[in-house]
Structures are given as structure tokens and as C-alpha cells.
């Protein structure tokens, strides 16, 4: 057998079979889809035809039997049932196995498939029997043949295997003849088949040739190229890029050079060539998905769950190497969703969900990246369980765990050696955990984020680069070494002169920040992060170079000692011995032959405080409010917290300012207290400050929360200012809510809640605690309803949700009472503005605090929302800001109530 023909046959068959699995599964769902059926039929038919042509009898027999079934399905004589589909899939598997053997040995593997063929044939007979029997025998046959021709022609205008109808006609015409004797119809087609081969083969050979002719027009437009050829081409282009860079470097600064013009031309051609070669490697992401419908179908049968896989954006293109790298992680995650995420139908029913679990895959381009979302509406992840397990496994201590946010706890799932499934199932198995997924994604410079709401589902968001091969990078120097920073993440470069560095770089505690236009940019000395010594950037007489990089929603400034040019670099993977370092995403060779590391800014940001981890849920307010000047002013109390640092607190949260004579301060156990209005007021210093015992009297700020009060000992009360309070940076330090710009200075805002809780540790268990706040959340997005609910419930609120303003109106009209309402603005039927107006128009609801929580831009909509009756305008979604706002509003409403009562 001609080897080349065989290779061609294998390549074509694999390509077709890749598509086949998903098509057959899709067919099961929409049995009436004639086009799909025709396509499936065609694939099998082509395989069968080619088998006959090159003499692969075993493969041909299986394909033929499968084709018979599909032909009958297409003709409507056999119903597309799950059972029938299962048998067809079985046949496809056998075909695959045979092809694999063929590929490995060059010969058709031995094996007996008569059972499967008998099964297929039996199915075919069953269909033939009842359907044909009542029909007038001679009539349907020609008709069938005609429809077939039409179908095939209609769906393949180019490679129309028109002659296909020729073998089909006699075949289709044969069975009806013995039809009246239905019970013994079975052996007859089989016999006719046995007798047919020489003719059939001949006909199909003709057909193949004919197809070959017809296909020429397609072949003119596309050719099959071995992937290795493309890969080596890509490598060569990589080398060319490096050489080009070298030449550019040599010619730089010498405009007179006679080489200048040709080098410029070479530069342009190289760039075009590079783009062109990259394009040849782009493939739709659907190629990585094609196996998933089959996988999900198999999982349904194994687990007994009912699953629905929805895939959108399959046409999104990305580099072949990236595609290869994400195939397994994607499969793993879909399997995880199906196995661990989606509950059994009984559980789903009992929870009021539809019995069929939904798994959604969605891919799209965003910037130079591809985003893939994998969502399921299953049980979600139990954060407490994760926490327990992590402690059990010794991944962290209980104390650490208690300090972690929900998002941080969720991220534990990605730690090596973590698996949350209570039972090891045969489907997901053990060993391959989410850590493997994360490693695989990160190896190609991607990131994984996980969001989950218990009881409602899990969303995984993967962000991967379009291509790995060649990127544009900024070359910088720090600590005497050069590094590359991917240009994609670089927002801008800032250079500060030596005179300016002391005034422009400010400090919050030990964090250096830089005021870049209207936002606070945390600064990181790159050489310190890299543990390199003696960088020039430390020298006060040197200018400061800041590379502003984007990490998720956040920005960060990297201080480097020198910024060189941008270069096109060929990314090579980080060696296995270095891959655990976490701050490198690759290595590369520069134009001058030097090997340098490519920095992973996301990794650096994570090290500098894990800020990038939950960026998806962070508010965008900080980024957007710079262009908005609207907004109410807040009175802030400024005080000296010791260590010469100024802090602020919204005046509305301050109950009183006192000066306590030192002699009145008493010690009770390990706490300081003062007798105050017939009660004991606990006193606390500002966290991290030591307090100054020589202060007499001691200035104290009294905070109250419900029935509880405490006094914060400060060094000095400084001022009260009216300022628009915008928390620009969340803080991870206890006792600090975040940082805002007050009076032109970066100032920490005190988290009063923290101190009140600390002073009254039993606050949560206190029986005197005011009854839980009842909060109504109105949002048409299930995701946000869940998100907000989780955030508020964790703060001890009782949350009711409404999926539309209309539903909310109903509840309120029925007499339900709420302490506060959080509403979305953009909703169908009745929007948030109308809802606010309605609320304010009724005397009994006009004083309920109302918070607008929206993804609309602040600049255009805040004023309108406030005018409509909202008390606050918040952007989706910052949980902490929401809860403090709610605290504040409820507190005000309560005190207002108190006054009027």
C-alpha cells in the first residue's frame, strides 16, 4: 500500500473524527437537524469509501455498518435515540482504535468486530422492518434516493460527492424489494452486501476519483502542512527576529550608515513575516473543545447526572502551542464541574433547581489575551470545608485561616496536594488537582481565577496570552542585572528626578506610594523583590525610574535602576529547576546573546501582598472616579496616630471626642478602661502604635457600634476636613479600612468596626446585639445577587433577594419591612431609577436607606441616581465598601429614628 496515500488517509480521517464525536452528541440533542446528520453521514461515508479504495476491509466493514444506520436515520426510517447513538459512538471508537493501530504499524490491526457489526445490522433491520412494511413497497425507494442527492448537494457545494447517489441508489433500492417478508429481511441486505463488494468497491473508487477532481478547487485554497514544519519555521523566524534586533542595535544612532535603509526594510519584512507565520499557527479554540461534548455525555452515563454543556466563542483563535497547553486543563475543569460541581438530579430538585445541570464554556478575546470562562450552576464550593481541609492537611494554621478572606480561602484549592472531593470518584480521580491546572495555565503565562457561591455554582476564569512564541518586552536593569518585562503589562514609564524623589514618594507605614495623577500607586523596588543588593535606585542622588504595570485591576510601580529599549523577544520556558520561583514567566536570549529572565509581574504583585488574587471582585471605582468630580463630601476627623502618621475617620462614625486625665485610666486585666458615663469604656491604642504614656490628658476618640463603645487613644486630634472620601487602596493591615487622599496627602482610614470588636470580643455573641439587619437586594443578575448576599450574610445581615424591581415592589407592597435596600440600576421592566422614585413616593418607604449598586459609570449616573432617591451610589463590586456604607446608613437611620421617637 502506498505509504503516502495511507498517511493522507489517516490525517484526513483523524481530522474528520475529531469533529465527529461532538457532532454525534449534538445530533442526539437535535435529531431533526438534517444538516448535522448529513455531515456525520458524510464523514463515515468518506472513511468507508477510502477504506474500500485502499483495501482496509475490517475498517471498511465497521464503517459500512455504521453508515447504514446513519443513512437510515437520515432517511427518517430509524429514530435518533440515545441507544442508537451509543452504538454509533461505539462504532466510532472501534474505527478510532483501528486507525490508531494502522498508524502505529502501517497495517490494519487484527480483531473481530463481527459482534459490533451484527449489533449495527440488527438495528438497521429493526428500522427497516416496521417502517417499510406498511409502506407501499416500490414507492419510497426512488424518493429516498432523490432526497439523498438533494441533501448531499445542498450541504457540500464544493466537494459535492454527487456520484454518492449512485452506490446509494441500488443499495436503497434493494431492501424494499424483500420488504413484504419483513421478518427475514435481515439476511438479505447482508447477503446482497456480501455479493456486492466488487461492484461497490469499483463504484466507490470511481467516486473517490470524482471527489478528488471536485476537491481540487478546495485544495487550491488550502493545503495540509505538517505541524513540525510550522514549528521549525516559527523557530527560524524567532532566530531571524533576534538577528534583526542585533542589526538594529548595531545601526542605532548612525543615521548616515549606508545600511540604514536596508535594515529598516529588513525590519519591516521581518515583522510581517513574523505575523504571517504566527497566523499559520492560529487555531480556533473549538479544536480544544471538540472532545468535550462526548466527555460530558459519557460522564452523564457514568454519574447518572443530567448535564447540559453550552459552548460559545469556539471560533476564538489562539496559537497552537497555547491551545495544546490548555486542552488538558480545560478537560479537567469540565470534568470537575460535571463530577464535583453539579449535584445529582435528586439533590438539584430538592434545592429547587432544574434537574439538568448547566456547564458553560465561553471564550473571547480581550486585549492581547484570550479569556475562557467555565461556569457551572452546581453546588459551589463550601469555603468552610476548604478551610477545614487546608488546616487538616497542614497547608496553613488555624490562625492564618481565620485571617483570610473568602477569596483567599477559595484560592487554597489551587495549592498542591489539595482535593476537596469527599470521595475519590472514578471520574475525576485523584492526583490531578486544581494545582496541576493552575501550573499548566501559569506555565504559558496565563492566570486562573475562581469564584464560587455555595449552592449556586462556580466560575473559573482563565486568561491566557494569544501566543507564546514572540512578545514585545521592555528591558530594564535592577541590581546590576537585566530583566525583561512583557510590554503588554506595562502602562507607562515615569522618571523622577533626584530632587523630587523625597517629596514625591510618600509612605504609608512602610509601603512607599507615588501619587500618579489621581491615584495612589504602590511602589516596589525590583531589586529588593529579587533579593539583589546595592541597586543604584536606592541612591538618593539618582533619578528614579518607575515602570507602571497593570496587574488585573490594579496597577503597581516597579522601581528599576535603568530602562533600556523594548525588544521583540522569543519566549522560552523557565527551566524546571527555576519554575518554583514564581516571579519569572520565561527566559529569553537578547540580541547580544545574553540570557535574561522575563519577569512575571502578576507573580511579583502576588508576593507583594497578594493584591492581584481577588482583583476580579474588586471595585473599579478607584480607576473610574478620577474622571468624576460629582459625589458628596464627607467630614473627616484627622488625628495623629503616633509614629508621625496621620489617620482619618469619617466624623459620622465618631460618637464623641474626649480628653481623659491619665489618673482616671485604670487597668482591668490586660485592658485599659476608664469610667465613663456610669459605665466602663475600654481603651485601645492605634494598632502598631505604642501610645505615649506621658500624654496627660490622653485624647480619646469614642466610637459606638450598637450598644458597644470603645475609646481609641490617639496622640493628637488634628483637624476636621470636608473631603470626598474615596478609598483608593484597600488595606490588608488590621484596623485600617484603606487609604484615601485627604487634604492632598495619602491618609489611612481607620476601620472603627475592628476596634469596637477588639474592645468587645463578645460583640457577636452579645444578646444585646441589635436584631439582624434585614436587607433587600434587587438585581436581575443571579451572579450579583449571590455575590452581594454572600458578602452581606457574612456580615450578619438577613438578606432577601428580588430578581427584578417589580418583584421588589410586590414584596414591599405586601408589607415586608427592610432596614435597607440595595438595588441594581439597569434592569428590565422597571429600572433602578424608577424603583427609587417609587420607593420615595410612598410615605412608609421614603426613609428606607437605598444604595445603588451598579456597573454603570459613576460620572454619568451618580447624580441621576441620587436625584431619584438613592442615598449612595456604589460600583460593582467592593464588599467592604458596601458593608461599611450599609453600616453607616443603618446607623444614621437608627439615630434619626432615635431622635424622632
Amino acid at each position: 500500500m502506498d505509504d503516502e496515500i495511507l498517511q493522507e488517509f489517516l490525517a484526513e480521517s483523524w481530522e474528520n473524527l475529531g469533529r465527529l464525536d461532538s457532532e454525534i452528541v449534538a445530533l442526539e440533542k437535535s435529531p431533526e437537524n438534517a444538516e448535522l446528520l448529513a455531515s456525520v453521514f458524510r464523514t463515515i461515508h468518506t472513511i468507508k469509501g477510502t477504506c474500500g479504495f485502499i483495501g482496509l476491509t475490517r475498517l471498511g466493514a465497521v464503517a459500512h455498518a455504521a453508515e447504514n444506520i446513519l443513512g437510515q436515520m437520515r432517511d427518517g426510517t430509524l429514530a435518533v435515540t440515545p441507544a442508537a447513538i451509543s452504538i454509533v459512538l461505539e462504532a466510532v471508537d472501534v474505527i478510532k482504535a483501528l486507525l490508531q493501530g494502522l498508524e502505529a504499524t502501517g497495517k490494519e490491526p487484527e480483531g473481530d468486530h463481527s459482534k459490533l457489526i451484527a449489533k449495527l445490522d440488527l438495528l438497521a433491520t429493526v428500522a427497516d422492518g416496521p417502517k417499510v412494511l406498511p409502506a407501499a413497497a416500490p414507492d419510497p425507494a426512488p424518493q429516498e434516493a432523490v432526497t439523498e442527492v438533494k441533501l448531499v448537494v445542498a450541504s457540500t457545494p464544493v466537494a459535492a460527492p454527487l456520484p454518492a447517489a449512485i452506490p446509494a441508489t441500488p443499495q436503497a433500492a434493494v431492501p424494499p424489494a424483500p420488504a413484504p417478508a419483513a421478518p427475514i429481511a435481515a439476511p438479505v441486505p447482508a447477503a446482497s452486501k456480501a455479493a456486492a463488494p466488487p461492484v461497490e468497491r469499483r463504484l466507490e473508487a470511481d467516486e473517490h476519483e470524482a471527489e478528488g477532481d471536485a476537491r481540487k478547487s478546495v485544495a487550491d485554497l488550502s493545503i495540509r502542512v505538517n505541524v513540525e514544519v510550522l514549528d521549525s519555521l516559527m523557530n527560524l523566524v524567532g532566530e531571524l527576529v533576534l538577528t534583526r534586533n542585533q542589526l538594529l542595535q548595531l545601526a542605532r544612532g548612525d543615521d548616515e550608515s549606508k545600511y540604514a535603509a536596508p535594515i529598516t526594510h529588513l525590519n519591516r519584512v521581518t515583522t510581517d513575516l513574523q505575523e504571517g507565520v504566527m497566523k499559520t499557527r492560529m487555531q480556533p479554540i473549538g479544536n480544544a473543545w471538540s472532545k468535550l461534548p462526548r466527555l460530558v455525555r459519557d460522564l452523564m452515563q457514568v454519574t447518572g447526572k443530567s448535564l447540559d454543556l453550552e459552548m460559545t466563542g469556539a471560533e476564538t483563535e489562539l496559537d497552537r502551542t497555547v491551545l495544546d497547553a490548555i486542552k488538558d486543563p480545560l478537560t479537567h475543569m469540565v470534568r470537575n464541574s460535571a463530577d464535583h460541581g453539579i449535584e445529582s438530579p435528586e439533590v438539584r430538585r430538592s434545592k429547587g433547581k432544574s434537574e439538568t445541570g448547566k456547564i458553560r464554556l465561553h471564550a473571547y478575546h480581550e486585549g492581547g489575551h484570550v479569556i475562557i470562562r467555565i461556569e457551572d450552576d452546581g453546588a459551589g464550593i463550601n469555603v468552610q470545608k476548604v478551610k477545614r481541609k487546608a488546616i487538616e492537611k497542614g497547608l496553613l494554621t488555624e490562625a492564618d485561616a481565620d485571617r483570610m478572606s473568602q477569596a483567599e480561602l477559595l484560592a487554597l484549592i489551587f495549592r498542591p496536594g489539595f482535593s476537596t472531593a469527599e470521595q475519590i470518584s472514578s471520574v475525576s480521580g485523584r492526583g490531578v488537582g486544581m494545582d496541576v491546572v493552575k501550573t499548566a495555565i501559569e506555565r504559558i503565562g496565563g492566570t486562573v481565577e475562581l469564584m464560587s457561591t455555595e449552592g449556586h455554582g462556580t466560575t473559573v476564569r482563565i486568561k491566557i496570552p494569544l501566543t507564546l512564541a514572540i512578545i514585545s518586552a521592555l528591558v530594564v536593569e535592577s541590581g546590576g542585572e537585566s530583566f525583561a518585562i512583557p510590554q503588554l503589562g506595562v502602562v507607562e514609564l515615569v522618571r523622577l528626578s533626584a530632587e523630587d524623589r523625597n517629596t514625591r514618594i510618600e509612605r504609608i507605614h512602610n509601603q512607599e506610594v507615588f501619587r500618579l495623577r489621581n491615584r495612589l500607586l504602590p511602589l516596589v523596588h525590583l531589586h529588593r523583590q529579587l533579593k539583589l543588593s546595592c541597586s543604584r535606585s536606592d541612591d538618593a542622588s539618582e533619578d528614579v525610574n518607575i515602570v507602571v504595570v497593570q496587574v488585573g485591576e490594579d496597577q503597581m510601580g516597579l522601581i528599576v535602576s535603568e530602562v533600556f529599549d523594548t525588544e521583540e523577544i522569543v519566549v522560552k520556558p523557565v527551566g524546571t529547576l527555576l519554575k518554583d520561583i514564581g516571579i519569572y514567566q520565561g527566559t529569553t536570549i537578547l540580541g547580544d546573546g545574553r540570557v535574561i529572565m522575563i519577569l512575571d509581574v502578576a507573580g511579583i504583585a502576588t508576593e507583594c501582598g497578594g493584591k492581584a488574587v481577588n482583583s476580579a471582585l474588586r471595585d473599579r471605582a478607584a480607576a473610574e472616579d478620577a474622571n468624576s468630580d460629582a459625589g458628596s463630601l464627607t467630614s473627616l476627623l484627622l488625628f495623629d496616630a503616633g509614629n508621625e502618621s496621620t489617620m482619618a475617620v469619617p466624623l459620622s462614625l465618631v460618637a464623641r471626642l474626649e480628653e481623659v486625665p491619665r489618673s482616671n485610666i485604670e487597668r482591668s486585666g490586660d485592658r485599659l478602661v476608664v469610667q465613663y458615663r456610669g459605665d466602663l469604656l475600654p481603651l485601645l491604642p492605634v494598632d502598631g502604635a505604642y501610645g505615649r504614656p506621658e500624654l496627660d490628658p490622653q485624647p480619646v476618640i469614642v466610637f459606638s457600634e450598637g450598644q458597644q463603645s470603645m475609646g481609641l487613644m490617639v496622640d493628637q486630634i488634628q483637624d476636621i476636613l470636608e473631603e470626598r472620601l474615596v478609598i483608593r487602596m484597600q488595606s490588608r493591615r488590621t484596623g485600617v479600612l484603606g487609604t484615601a487622599i485627604v487634604n492632598g496627602k495619602a491618609t489611612d482610614i481607620v476601620d472603627t468596626n475592628h476596634y469596637v470588636m477588639q474592645a468587645n470580643p463578645d460583640w457577636f455573641t452579645s444578646t444585646e446585639q441589635p436584631s439582624q439587619r434585614r436587607i433587600l437586594v434587587v438585581d436581575d443578575s443571579l451572579f450579583f445577587r449571590q455575590l452581594v448576599t454572600t458578602a452581606l450574610e457574612s456580615e450578619g445581615c438577613r438578606v432577601t433577594t428580588a430578581e427584578s424591581a417589580v418583584a421588589a415592589v410586590e414584596r414591599i407592597e405586601k408589607g415586608e419591612r427592610f432596614d435597607l435596600i440595595v438595588t441594581d440600576l439597569m434592569m428590565p421592566m422597571m429600572d433602578g431609577f424608577e424603583f427609587a422614585e417609587w420607593l420615595r413616593s410612598r410615605p412608609e418607604s421614603q426613609s428606607i436607606p437605598l444604595v445603588a449598586l451598579t456597573s454603570l459609570g459613576q460620572a454619568n449616573h451618580e447624580a441621576r441616581a441620587l436625584q431619584a432617591g438613592c442615598d449612595r451610589f456604589l460600583q460593582k463590586f467592593n464588599a467592604q465598601l458596601l458593608t461599611t456604607t450599609i453600616d453607616d446608613l443603618c446607623y444614621r437611620a437608627q439615630s434619626r429614628h432615635g431622635v424622632s421617637a
Partner: protein, 161 residues
Amino acid sequence: MSRAATLEASPLRDGMSHQLDYENQYVSFRLGTQWLGVPVNVVQEVLNPQSIRRVPRAPSEVAGLLNLRGQIVTAVDLRQRLGLPEYNDERGSMNVVVRHGQESFSLLVDDVGDVINVSGQKLEPVPNSLDAQWKAVTKGVFRLEKRLFVILNVPAVLKFG
């Protein structure tokens, strides 16, 4: 090259090399006075001292990266890996480049000797009392006529951190 001359005269010439007998052939190299070897079929090539870029925050056993005709090779400081003092010689370390997995690694050694054929000899286990750091990375030892020849387990050498 003068170093080649010293190698020529190395005391390890007692094993005669036979071509195509890769099973029994080992590339020999020296750390201090100790002669060590790795199977010849994992060795890609042997290089003179190279310019090696260090990698900040890399494990101390990783000396850095080197550019081998466009291929990036991780250099492992074998002295550091085996707990020996630093090599201070102006001539610099030689590179024994080995393949492991899909990657190339360069083992930095003081000196490279011949390819030694040990056919007919028995690989004996290293003594139990050997330093744990060594025991973990050695396969065994050949008693050559004049020297002991310790065979390294390459995958184990490249597994640390």
C-alpha cells in the same frame, strides 16, 4: 589547549573505550580529588568554561543560565549540590551538558576526564555510612585499578529545592 593535555594524562585511562558500547561507558569528571561519572548516553556535550548569567532567587545549587547556540541551559553547581566548598580557580568550571526530560542541564565540574568503559566490572553500592547528601544522588561505585569511580544518578542530582 593545555587543559586537554592534562586530561589526556588523566589517571583514568585504565578503562579502555569501546565504540558503540554505550551501556558500559561513563563520562568522567573531577571535583577536587574525587572522580565522578555519568552515563555517556545522557551527555549531550562537554564545554569549556562559559559565561553564565545568574538568576536572582534561584536555589543555591543553580549557578545560572547559559546560552548554548540559542538553547538555554540551566547550569547546576555540582560542588554546591554535593556540599563541597566553592571552586576558586581562575580557569573556571567545565560544563558537562546532560539531557534530562525535555531539558538540558550543565553540570559544573572542576575538570573533565575521559570516557571510561567499565565493561566486566561490577557497580557496587556506595557504603551505607556515606554522607546522606551524597548517598541520595549516587548510583554506586566502580573500583578501577587506581581510583574509585563514583557514578551519579542524574535525575536525582537534578532534583532538589
